[in-house]
């Protein structure tokens, strides 16, 4: 057992995967010699050599396109997009190609790639270093979409993603890279080393894709969330004193519907929280599923707390994404309904 930041946990997952399987290759902008602008790949090139961990030209399309070709050959590329905001040049390769190769070739070719990218705001990154594009990927058949909320999950989910036979979009909430965050920006960040969730098992282990985790047991209302917002929801539950059950979805596609249905059927209330914008966001999918599967258990309308439908503003970012106050209000409103 070790105490780690999420960055260290991701690095550990890559290290273990590269050590176990010579087919695993890691590349992207600045990931080689320097170890990535967030240092997730630091030391890997020194350990595994320049043909297994290397810097690429600044071409997201090139990164994902070559990864697809490598996967067709039989390698297991785990590539980094420097910020999720820059994945769009590669979107065609991901959506039209990676996601469909298994299906369209009737299994002759497969695409076991992982595309890692930092997502979300809270670091004054402005509109091009802050986006949460998960809904753009969950809409695509053939992909898997993963968002960890703590170091242990980050490591276990990343190893599982690298070992997965299908393409995985691995979204890393950068606000959590160095420690958990409860949305109170005036408070200093608590490092993971002082946080119980920072405990990460040594060596190889996986956290299965498609399984949610109940972060906080409760009976009054179910909160469906993932990534940074798990911590914000925990703060909101603590501060309102509402007996909320908080579900960390961990994998958005495929989704752990059983866990959701069981919880909402028990609590009869549901609040969905994510940082991405509201309209056509992943929360809409969650609300629709809850409505379909738990309608007769619902005692209140499903509430959604999300980022606003504007590009991510630099100066007003603390007003942009949901903090404990906004989540708390939704909890109270849902309880009163």
């Amino acid at each position: 057992m070790a105490r780690m930041t999420m960055i260290e946990a991701i690095r550990s997952a890559l290290d273990i995967s590269m050590g176990r399987d010579p087919k695993v290759v890691v590349f992207g902008e600045d990931v080689g010699y320097f170890g990535g602008v967030f240092r997730c790949t630091a030391g890997l090139q020194q350990k595994y050599g320049v043909t297994r961990c290397f810097d690429t030209p600044i071409s997201e399309l090139g990164i994902v396109g070559t990864a697809i070709g490598m996967a067709a050959y039989g390698l297991r590329p785990c590539v980094e997009i420097q910020f999720a905001d820059y994945v769009y040049p590669a979107y065609d390769q991901i959506v039209s190609e990676a996601a469909r190769i298994r299906y369209r070739s009737n299994g002759q070719f497969t695409c076991p790639i992982v595309v890692r990218m930092p997502t979300g705001g809270g670091i004054f990154g402005g509109q091009t270093h802050s986006q949460s594009p998960e809904a753009l990927f969950t809409h695509v058949c053939g992909l898997k979409v993963v968002v960890p909320s703590n170091p242990r999950d980050a490591k276990g989910l990343l190893i599982a993603s690298i070992e997965d036979p299908d393409p995985v979009i691995f979204l890393e909430p950068k606000r959590l890279y160095n420690g958990p965050f409860d949305g109170h920006h005036e408070q200093p960040v608590t490092p993971w080393s002082k946080h119980p969730l920072g405990d990460v098992d040594d060596g190889h282990f996986t956290v299965p894709l498609g399984k949610a985790e109940i972060r906080r047991q409760g009976s009054a209302v179910t909160v469906l969330t993932y990534g940074t917002m798990v911590h914000v929801a925990e703060a909101a539950a603590r501060e309102t004193g509402i007996d909320a059950e908080i579900i960390d979805l961990r994998t958005l596609l495929p989704l752990d519907l059983d866990c959701i249905v069981e919880s909402v059927s028990k609590t009869g209330r549901c609040v969905v929280v994510h940082e991405a914008t509201l309209t056509s966001g992943f929360g809409a999918e969650l609300a629709a599923l809850v409505q379909e599967h738990c309608f007769y258990h619902l005692e209140a309308p499903i509430a959604r707390v999300t980022g606003w439908d504007t590009p991510y503003p630099h100066a007003q970012e603390w007003d942009y994404f949901p903090g404990p106050a906004r989540v708390g209000e939704a909890l109270v409103r849902t309880m009163e309904a």
Binding site: V37, D55, I58, S59, L61, G126, Q127, Q316
Partner: protein, 410 residues
């Protein structure tokens, strides 16, 4: 076939890493004045050499020599010197402001001042730049108020972009400066589109696109070359090769052979390389390319050979990936010192006047900063309103946003 050996992947590596001795022996530098100056309506096939050489005007002695010299008067050059000094002082103050927590982020131009400052002088009012984040010299040399630049950097209540953009991502339509995007490369092909529109409209204005050496790897770069050459768009396509893309050396985007300028040759675009640390050379080449565009002779591709002396941004530590003293070993020198020496040589400047000017320039920048800070900085004083956050997504705020603004309580 028994002579088949296993394949191996080539991954380009820079000559030296931290701890090593800086080495630019692979940068072949022709003598100042040695590269010919063709007429602007030259057949591109006749000047393929210019994509592999480096056009230089200022020699080691500070003299302006060769066919690209003689275009600027003393007054022009003194003005150019002041622009570069202002940009350098501006950088120094804003870097410090970032360290003091007055803004979240800053990117400096150290070593690359000549590129944007001299290029701006070759343009006419109404021309449009599609810049990246290291061309603030276009604004400074174009007379955009420094206080407005600082207001943008501080995201304060007077920020012309209302706190929406990352610091240094300026936008000024009036000053021919298209709104900067953080997504690398996207602007390059847009510049071509603007130029095509000018041609479609039988206008006389031209466009200039800007991109870094690393970002030439993006598809947008290649799309820009295709469209520019196909439609002979009146555009100047600028590649600033400052040797580094964050931690990644230019050989990763370029590969082992050729030059960035040479990428234009396959498209039949006249392509030139120029000493980016030589104000006179940059101006001369820019003027040549601008004239070509203006005379409807089509696009030109220019590679500025220069060096990024500072860190990539305030989030970067270059000592982790290159020798600490590499910038001092850069063979093309410091653009400010070179122009200063040239002016002294011409008898139009002295060391003493230079020192005075440095102090004056710094005073002007500090005065502008005081003025800007009256409107607030990122974490203190006046801020753009949260209400503004909902404005400007659309021309007219749709009902769902009005609802959300109401919900946000602003």
């Amino acid at each position: 076939m028994d002579d088949v050996v296993p394949l191996s992947l080539h991954v380009p590596e820079p000559e030296v890493r931290p701890g090593g001795t800086p080495d630019f022996s692979m940068v072949a530098i022709p003598k100042a004045g040695s590269v010919p100056r063709p007429p602007v309506d030259v057949d591109p096939r006749e000047i393929r050499d210019l994509a592999f050489s480096i056009i230089r005007v200022l020699n080691r002695e500070g003299e302006a020599v060769g066919p690209w010299a003689g275009l600027l008067t003393d007054d022009d050059l003194l003005e150019g010197l002041r622009h570069m000094m202002t940009l350098r002082a501006f950088d120094a103050r804003m870097l410090m402001a970032q360290r003091q927590g007055k803004t979240s982020f800053y990117m400096q131009h150290m070593g690359e001042e000549a590129v944007s400052c001299a290029f701006r002088k070759a343009l006419e009012p109404g021309d449009m730049n599609f810049p990246t984040y290291r061309q603030a010299g276009l604004l400074i040399a174009g007379g955009y108020p420094m206080v407005d630049m600082m207001n943008q950097i501080f995201s304060n209540e007077a920020d012309p972009l209302k706190g929406r953009q990352l610091p240094i991502m300026y936008s000024s339509k009036e000053h021919g400066f298209f709104s900067i995007s953080g997504n690398l490369g996207t602007q390059f092909v847009q510049a071509v589109g603007w130029a095509m529109a000018s041609a479609i409209s039988n206008d006389t204005r031209i466009a200039a696109g800007w991109i870094g050496d690393g970002s030439t790897a993006e598809s947008d770069f290649h799309a820009a070359l295709v469209f520019a050459s196909t439609y002979r768009a009146p555009v100047v396509l600028n590649i600033v090769n400052n040797q580094w893309a964050i931690s990644t050396f230019q050989g990763i985007a370029r590969g082992g052979s050729g030059t960035f300028a040479a990428r234009g040759l396959g498209f039949g675009i006249p392509s030139l390389r120029v000493d980016g640390n030589d104000y006179l050379a940059v101006y001369a080449v820019a003027r040549w390319a601008v004239e070509r565009a203006r005379r409807n002779l089509g696009p030109t591709l220019i590679e500025y050979v220069t060096y990024r002396v500072g860190a990539h941004s305030t989030s970067d530590d270059p000592s982790a990936y290159r020798p600490k003293d590499e910038s001092e070993a850069w063979p093309l020198g410091d653009p400010v010192i070179r122009l200063k020496n040239h002016l002294i040589r011409r008898g139009a400047w002295t060391e003493e006047r230079h020192r005075q000017a440095e102090a004056e320039v710094m005073d002007t920048v500090i005065a502008a900063q005081k003025e800007a800070e009256k409107h607030g900085t990122l974490h203190s004083g006046g801020k753009p309103s949260v209400r503004d956050m909902f404005e400007g997504v659309y021309a007219e705020m749709p009902p769902h946003l009005r609802r959300q603004r109401h919900q946000a309580g602003v």
